[in-house]
């Protein structure tokens, strides 16, 4: 049964879960509370074959609830999965990661390393490229964007290209677009994928109360719009109950500014 009252974070978790539903037996890695709960929801419902870790060193046969857990809680380990072994998994291709980059460009390239035009004197040093180069050329990747804006979806290329995308100028010898597997882009106003012509970013659905025009305005490059754009499906009561079970401390309410409702109120 479709729920009538839900938060935007919960809507985004349910969309994030759809990203993993047809993955089969892969490691689902959701970085951040909303992506992680999306993977958790998928593993609990549509795709029980998924694998998840405890975000530290063990692979689990059931996802852990987020945050502090009771003394009696026993996590369901199934194998050791320390960081060195994560790379064995990454390079085996049996993984789907969902992360929140600071910049995404029209080629699907992303940036979490640094901002500014001079790499050796960055305006803002961020994390570093981390595992993005390897993830992007090895397995499926989805993006999570909590603040859809032209600052994230940049005009031009990312300041530091951390992940490979559909950029002909950078395509390595022996590779083509089919070797790169970028899936969903889930934002606070819409869902997109890279299935437009020549892997152009395509609008899949808008969240309740959001217009197509708003998405176009807040994206720094041209995106592909279909003749009709559906509204993002509302969560079901069952989905909300599962999310609540795995997020007992309601950390999801702290992920988006002011924890807005899933159905945007009509402006007065």
């Amino acid at each position: 049964m479709t729920a009538t009252s839900y938060s935007l974070a919960e809507l985004m978790i349910c969309v994030a879960a759809t990203a993993f539903e047809n993955d089969g037996e892969v490691l689902a890695t959701g970085i951040g509370v909303i992506p992680r709960l999306g993977a958790t929801l998928a593993m609990s419902t549509t795709n029980p074959d998924l694998m998840m870790t405890d975000s530290e060193a063990y692979l689990l046969s059931e996802p852990n609830p987020i945050g502090s857990r009771s003394e009696e809680f026993v996590q369901r380990n199934e194998t050791w999965m320390g960081f060195s072994r994560i790379f064995d998994n990454v390079w085996s291709r049996k993984r789907h990661a969902m992360i929140g980059p600071t910049q995404i460009d029209r080629f699907g390239q992303s940036n979490i390393s640094a901002l500014g035009s001079d790499y050796f004197h960055p305006k803002i040093q961020m994390l570093g490229v981390r595992g993005l180069p390897g993830n992007s050329i090895s397995h499926a990747n989805s993006f999570f964007v909590p603040n859809h804006s032209t600052r994230v979806f940049v005009d031009g290329e990312c300041d530091v290209v951390c992940s490979i995308g559909f950029n002909p100028a950078r395509m390595p010898k022996g590779y083509d677009n089919n070797d790169i597997d970028i899936r969903l882009v889930i934002t606070d106003i819409c869902v997109m994928d890279w299935q437009g012509p020549n892997n152009k970013l395509r609008l899949v659905s808008v969240h309740p109360g959001v217009s197509v025009a708003e998405v176009i305005e807040k994206t720094g490059f041209a995106i592909h719009i279909e003749a009709t754009t559906p509204t993002t499906a509302a969560p079901t009561a069952e989905q909300l109950a599962i999310i609540a079970k795995f997020d007992p401390h309601n950390l999801r309410a702290k992920q988006l500014k002011d924890n807005p409702p899933g159905i945007r109120p009509v402006a007065s």
Partner: protein, 291 residues
Amino acid sequence: MNKLKTASQIVAQLQDGMTIGIGGWGPRRKPMALIREILRSDLKDLTIVSYGGADVGMLCAAGKVKKVIFAFVSLDFIPLEPFFRKAREQGQLEVMEIDEGMLLLGLRAAAWGCPYIPTQVGLGTDVINNNPDLKVIDSPYDDKEWVAMPALKLDAALVHVDRADERGVCRIAAPDHHMDDWFVRAASHAYVTCDELVTSEHFVPAEVARQVFWERSLTTAVCHIPGGAHPSSCAPFYGIDNSHFLEYNKYAKEGGFNAYCEKFVDGKTEQEYQAMFGGIDGIRKIPHTTY
């Protein structure tokens, strides 16, 4: 063979311009007592290879570092390491920024005596453009191009383990030994600090022996420093000292690293340092993070 040394004896073995690998990961199991000893030394012009946390931030802030070879520098719950960030934004560092897995391959290449290991990781990204020394090569076996990840040979590796004996048998009982074995294997000399010094009897049970990830012949020296990973974690003994990292982070905004050193490092013994956190008993009460 007895390999016991003091921290100052170990740091005396290091020289200006060396390439030094540091074990651990972000805010976890970093050999911080050795880092503090380096801060008190005259060492300079170091090339640091690390899955970086405050080890990298502190050494950069103290002007010890010429070049950093890294994939990230982060304190986890404080995502951006404040002093590394400052050093980068002031344009004062040489960097080799590569993927986390490439760093692992570089250590493995060094450990195995290979000049490089081919990988597809890095292709199509600025990792290639920003590191002109990183070569992209043709394969004799297929028609694709490959990144030739060069061996990251280390003059020294610094790691912290929970237990070691005086011969250099080292146990990491924490859930993850991270890449410490590869840092040790990539290095000409490996210097280990341990939270507990044990007798060789400790390693007899098979499940304990399975938590020993390199042979003692690779351990150059052992230094017994209970709490020596603080403020990073050393499971099973203590977690990440998040409140200290918050204070450290504040110094980057106000006061600067010199003020931090004046309070916590300069002229202080490790015991005096630890006394500010309730001594080893206080450090061992720091809870483990739940993810």
